[in-house]
């Protein structure tokens, strides 16, 4: 099949790539745009390591052909909107191996945009699609609470 042109903005910067029509947004971000902060974990929408924001909404970029994001605005962990959350993750000790961390931070951002001061249960629900195999989650929940407390 002929390659297709896809144009979108990534972290505020206009980008245009010519790719196979079913190339995943995840692979375009990593291979074509060299933004390797977005990770591939399971490749089936279970683990959230590939989370990005598509027009402000949390999505799994492994389940999205880049073509479906044509004309959209995309934010990845390399964007500038996540500094407070990143700092809180570092302070709370919420990162260990780091593979889940970009996705956790994007999911936290999406949650805090919707619910600025979430309860512990709301944080759990907001991060339900992000799997961590190192820290055991408590410090990740603590980090999100820290961001919430600081924005009061």
């Amino acid at each position: 099949m002929a390659e297709t042109k896809v144009t979108f903005s990534v972290n505020g910067k206009p980008q245009s790539v010519t790719v196979p029509p079913m190339k995943r947004l995840l692979d375009v971000i990593r291979e074509d745009l060299h933004l390797t902060g977005t990770k591939e974990g399971c490749g089936e929408g279970e683990c959230g390591a590939c989370s990005v924001l598509l027009d402000g909404q949390l999505v799994n970029s492994c389940l999205l052909p880049a073509k479906q994001a044509d004309g959209s605005s995309i934010q990845t962990i390399e964007g500038t909107a996540f500094e407070q959350i990143q700092r809180a993750f570092a302070e709370a000790g919420a990162a260990q191996c780091g593979i889940c961390t970009p996705g956790m931070i994007l999911a936290s951002h999406a949650l805090l945009q919707r619910i600025p001061h979430p309860t512990r249960d709301q944080i759990r629900a907001g991060l339900a699609g992000n799997i961590c195999r190192c820290t055991g989650y408590q410090k990740i929940l603590d980090a999100v609470e820290l961001v919430s407390q600081r924005s009061k």
Partner: protein, 285 residues
């Protein structure tokens, strides 16, 4: 990612007629909305078709509209939008609950009610709710549109009444008259984004302690989502008593057809179904 990219084509349909034209041109185009099921197969190298038309952003499929008698949900409305819709929250809470149970927030942002129906999993969490609410489906093609009760749509495991040139466009829910006691509970391995072992949905109209009318539907206990007509007949017109609940447990155990599979056993599913039925009937008092 195990698929060979050059084998596949994807076109983003600019409007509904363009999508329907592609689906009917004999070149085996298949629709894809949010992709939360299709892309899993694609990533695993197991997608059985090569040509996809994206219907994700079609405005014709993305509205919830309300009329005096029914609510029409566009097949492309996402699970997130369903959960946030005030009319659905107020009148069809079981659909909103099912939306919150399906996948993670990221999956709910992309996954659609229409996609859940045509993916035709017997474990799909929204389908028992559609049975309880007597949903009707509207299918469109270049030939026009037709409506079919959802209860007749799934005819066997992954089998359904839709032609390859048709799109599921709208899910119509008749608005309930009178006060319903509604109940839904999903039992899965973990609280978030698990696939159901049993998904139980029910709604009843009560006349003090007498069951005036009742609808009960289950997921994951038969080749298709199952409406329990025999049990409903047994319960209708009866006062809720301990003896009735005991009898109802025996009836539902015979009416469901659970299997042993990777997620659970037939025995466990049957026991959980009976326990959920007891819980629901007890709450009617």
């Amino acid at each position: 990612m195990r698929s060979h990219l050059p084998d596949f084509d994807l076109v983003v349909a600019p409007d509904l007629p363009s999508a329907l034209t592609l689906l009917s041109n004999g070149e085996s185009w298949r629709p894809m909305a949010g992709g939360t099921d299709i892309m899993v197969l694609f990533n695993a190298g197991r997608l059985p078709y090569r040509r996809l038309v994206s219907i994700a952003k079609l405005p014709e499929l993305n509205a919830v509209s309300v009329s005096p008698d029914s609510v029409a949900i566009g097949a492309g409305v996402s699970y997130s939008a369903i959960q946030q819709n005030p009319i659905l929250q107020a009148e069809f809470p079981l659909v909103c609950l099912a939306a919150s149970w399906t996948g993670s927030p990221a999956n709910q942002n992309r996954g659609t009610l229409g996609g859940n129906i045509v993916n035709a999993s017997p474990a799909a969490d929204s389908l028992p709710a559609l049975l309880v609410y007597d949903a009707e489906l509207e299918l469109v093609s270049l030939q026009g549109s037709r409506r079919i009760p959802y209860s007749q749509f799934h005819t066997g495991y992954k089998a359904m009444q839709i032609r390859s040139d048709e799109l599921l466009a709208t899910i119509h829910l008749p608005r309930p008259r009178g006060t319903l006691k509604q109940y839904a509970r999903k039992v899965g391995t973990r609280r978030a984004q698990a696939i159901s072992k049993v998904c139980f949905n029910a709604a009843a109209q009560m006349d003090s302690s007498i069951i005036k009318s009742i609808r009960i539907a289950l997921g994951s206990v038969a080749p298709t989502p199952l409406r329990c007509h025999q049990l409903e007949t047994v319960l209708t017109g009866q006062p809720v008593t301990a003896a009735l609940i005991a009898h109802a447990r025996e009836v539902i155990a015979k009416e469901i057809q659970p299997i042993d599979d990777i997620r659970s056993t037939s025995h466990y599913r049957s026991l959980v179904t009976q326990n959920l039925l007891s819980e629901f009937l007890s709450q009617l008092l």
